[in-house]
Symmetry: C2
Subunit: 517 residues, 2 copies
């Protein structure tokens, strides 16, 4: 049996476009003589559609698009696609839908699986829109009994319901899982762990691409009966690959265990590049701007942006003040030149002096005089966005945001926050890896200088990041809170979209009250 | 039977304080010779604790506080209190808790009800932390069979499970509902509608007070068998009232039907005052600042803030620019003087000119030159907060936020947004009501002038709010989206805490993707 794993990049709400993307993948699979084509979870509506699902005109359009796709593929191999399916229950405040795997065959659409386990943790709020599906029997296709799962259905450990076991009890020969599983650092080993628990051959097809906070890394795979990886698709790229399940060949098996040490930092870089690229292109934002300070965080964001959008679409702005080391701006310019991105310098002094003249004693003591500089920079950067279009990229890292060492509407400004789920040690590791693989890209001054906001003379960040960063990150991951985290909760509430790369990012996956004791 | 409705104001996470608040209410009830005391939903942990519930040390402390409260009330009347109860299931990514009503009697704590219907719509994400409870039989107290419900359990229309009917089938003589039901405009009539559906006597005890977005209005009530309101407690205030259920007296019955026209605008004002007051005091923020433009929106926020915090704790700042009508600042000052709040004037001109000198042609065309003025104002206002502590109140109304007619980091700045769920026509109605009840408070210039951002000469808001406001608000309420709403989704993503007063506010109750087609 030849199964096509169609790891495509779908767009939320773009029904006509998603049908086109499905058709292109099906055509490719057909040319590769597939007996069956598997598309990702929610391929037709795009994932995650979230509250768009309360719009009945949208869910009706998804149903029509599913029927259309069935008609258009009537003469090809059977296709299983992720889409919506009505649960035929009228409920208050609930769209009454199944998150479904639908078999398209001979022009007809038939429910193959309705997601039974609806995740309600972290960024997942699926009980809001979906009803848990009933158990459905395996489906016979090309002489095999295939059991269909949708994403969380495979992660049944710790749930009272066990979809893989139910399908095997109903004599499924093989499991096929349609997924939209967002990237996190350890996710590949976790997926393989859960896939292997069933002890039977398994085909796992994951979404590829990014929507807002979520980056889907693809890396679809096929396991044989022994739990060996006989195929693994590309990371962070679309791919349609046909795998012959009756061939005994295995691919070189990734050495993956659940106790794997830190995955390669390159993988994190690729995730962030995809997150920035898809946010910009799916929102039709042609250009990106960022403040380039001569520090390590903004250097990393500049490199990511240049790779994601192409250097011609990125402009870095250095905004030196009276406290800025002249080398900060000089090396920022060098980096921009090395990257081939646009570079502007705007001196803060005239505005800074005007603020001092106007606000006078209001700036005395404390951090007020520092915050105004950060906010003037935010205003200048937003002027570029307002004038030329595009978006402002935020350059804050997760450690400083956790500690609240950031200025609201200042360096916390930006619609997309590429490294706000990346800790300071990860920023350093990423930058060192980039420096080692791309010689002469990053001036050594940027890498070697002590971290500083340069908001007063001789200022150095008041943290030992090597110690503080893992400690505060552990609290974030554990949903614990300490006074520093609590004190800055209201600031993070107002952050832009934070690309999620850890198990627990700030954003819609963290519903922490501000008002608390 | 004499039942005490203990409508108290609990604080999220303040376990010792909440136990004190419960004890004070119980003491008052005991003095009024109550046979039974009813406290609101989640009175011990406070509501909504949200992701704090993932912290096992917190849930253990709630269990200990519940046991303590049982011991401390051993010699008094029985008490039913909202708290957590372990569901004795170990689950992945889930705290495995019941949202419980617990009977404290003779020093022991016993589960009286576990919430069966867990809302997963709007601002409610309860399946994230709670498991649906099993049906439990009525509890016999003082010779009566009492059936306990928790909040959504009473709103069973449109659910497949019907807790009130199950309790009546198990021979409950009366239903008692512990609630934490947030204020919305039509909520009182909805509560009474649902309470009356059971057709039996019903005691409804609601939380009072605000936490972040949510304002709990109290207004607990007792229905007799005929569905008549025989007692109704205060709106937006704590109250402990003992009601003799065997007395035939009824209170003057509120004339409430489900098709009620718009409730009095005064109620909306009281809700907003409570929301601001509790956010400030529960976060220990002594002072509030706001920009006072001489327009109607900021005038309303100033009046609300003065009432919520006391005028001595409120400072209004007028920041006139070269485009500001001198009367705007003069009448802003008059209003501030009438309210007795602090008033400062900061001229924008020096900074504005400095921005022009520095940014030059970047300000040409479009709205860039307007946005810098709004952002300079945001920076000035935040300087007051940084210098003196407290918080910045945002003054945007819901209609302009829906239309995207607002500047990110400019007039969209502010930790708390008191009127961001109040439409422009509601702002006008509130202000006219205030003007009519408090003579000579609001200068007529402020009420009568055409809405203007005053960011360029002779600028007037480009909307007919009478037409546009209801139209866009209908789309928001229906979870529909149009291009204007979509285009500004990324801006609203970065708003502060928005006090919710409608069925659908912007905030954690709206999970709308930014990236979509």
């Amino acid at each position: 049996m030849r199964i096509a794993l169609a790891q495509i990049n779908t767009w939320v709400g773009d029904l006509a476009g998603n049908v086109e993307r499905c058709l292109a993948a099906i055509e490719s699979a057909r040319n590769q003589k597939a007996d069956l084509v598997i598309l990702p979870e929610m391929a037709i509506p795009g994932y995650p559609p979230r509250d768009i699902l309360f719009d009945a005109s949208f869910t009706a359009a998804v149903a029509a698009a599913t029927t259309d796709l069935a008609s258009m593929t009537a003469d090809g191999p059977p296709v299983v696609v992720g889409t919506l399916w009505p649960a035929d229950q009228t409920l208050h405040h609930h769209p009454g839908l199944y998150n479904a795997a639908v078999l398209l065959s001979g022009g007809e659409a038939q429910l193959a699986a309705a997601k039974r386990l609806l995740p309600a943790y972290d960024v997942f709020h699926e009980p809001r829109w979906f009803l848990p599906g009933p158990p459905l029997p395996p489906v016979s296709i090309a002489g095999r009994r295939l059991g269909f799962l949708i994403c969380e259905d495979m992660w049944d450990e710790g749930y009272p319901v066990h979809p893989p076991a139910d399908l095997l009890a109903a004599e499924a020969e093989m499991l096929i899982c349609l997924s939209a599983s967002p990237y996190r650092r350890q996710i590949l080993s976790e997926r393989l762990y859960h896939a292997r628990r069933s002890g039977c051959p398994l085909v796992y097809v994951n979404l590829c691409g990014a929507t807002d906070e979520l980056i889907f890394d693809g890396r679809s795979f096929v396991l044989n009966e022994a739990g060996e990886v006989i195929a693994q698709l590309a990371a962070f790229e679309e791919e349609v690959r046909v795998v012959d399940l009756d061939s005994s060949e295995t691919t070189e098996q990734p050495q993956i265990t659940t106790n794997q040490p830190e995955p390669p930092v390159e993988e994190l870089y690729q995730a962030l590049v995809l997150g920035v690229r898809d946010f910009a292109r799916k929102n039709q934002l042609d250009r990106a701007f960022l403040g380039l300070s001569g520090g390590i965080d903004s250097a990393l964001v500049a490199i990511i942006a240049a790779e994601a959008l192409g250097p011609a679409r990125v402009t870095a702005v250095a905004i030196p003040s009276r406290y800025t080391d002249p080398r900060s701006t000089a090396y920022a310019e060098t980096l921009a030149a090395n990257l081939g991105i646009g570079f502007d310098v705007v001196s803060l002094e005239t505005m800074h002096s005007a603020v001092e003249v106007t606000l006078g004693p209001l700036l005395d003591g404390g951090t007020t005089a520092e915050n105004v500089q950060a906010r003037l920079r935010g205003m200048i950067l937003m002027s570029y966005v307002n004038r030329y279009g595009g978006l402002l990229l935020n350059t804050s890292n997760k450690t400083e945001l956790s500690l609240g060492y950031a200025t609201l509407y200042g360096d916390m400004a930006g619609t997309l926050c590429p490294i706000a789920d990346v800790t300071k040690p990860q920023v350093i590791a990423l930058t060192q890896w980039l420096a080692s693989t791309r010689r002469n890209l990053i001036p050594s001054f940027i890498i070697e200088r002590p971290p500083s906001a340069e908001l007063r003379p001789d200022q150095i960040d008041p943290f030992n990041y090597t110690e503080v960063s893992p400690a505060i990150e552990n609290l974030v991951q554990a949903n614990h809170s300490n006074p520093a985290l609590r004190r800055s909760e209201y600031k993070r509430w107002q952050m832009g979209v934070i690309l999620k790369v850890s198990d627990k990012a700030f954003g819609t996956g963290r519903l922490m009250p501000i008002t608390r004791r």
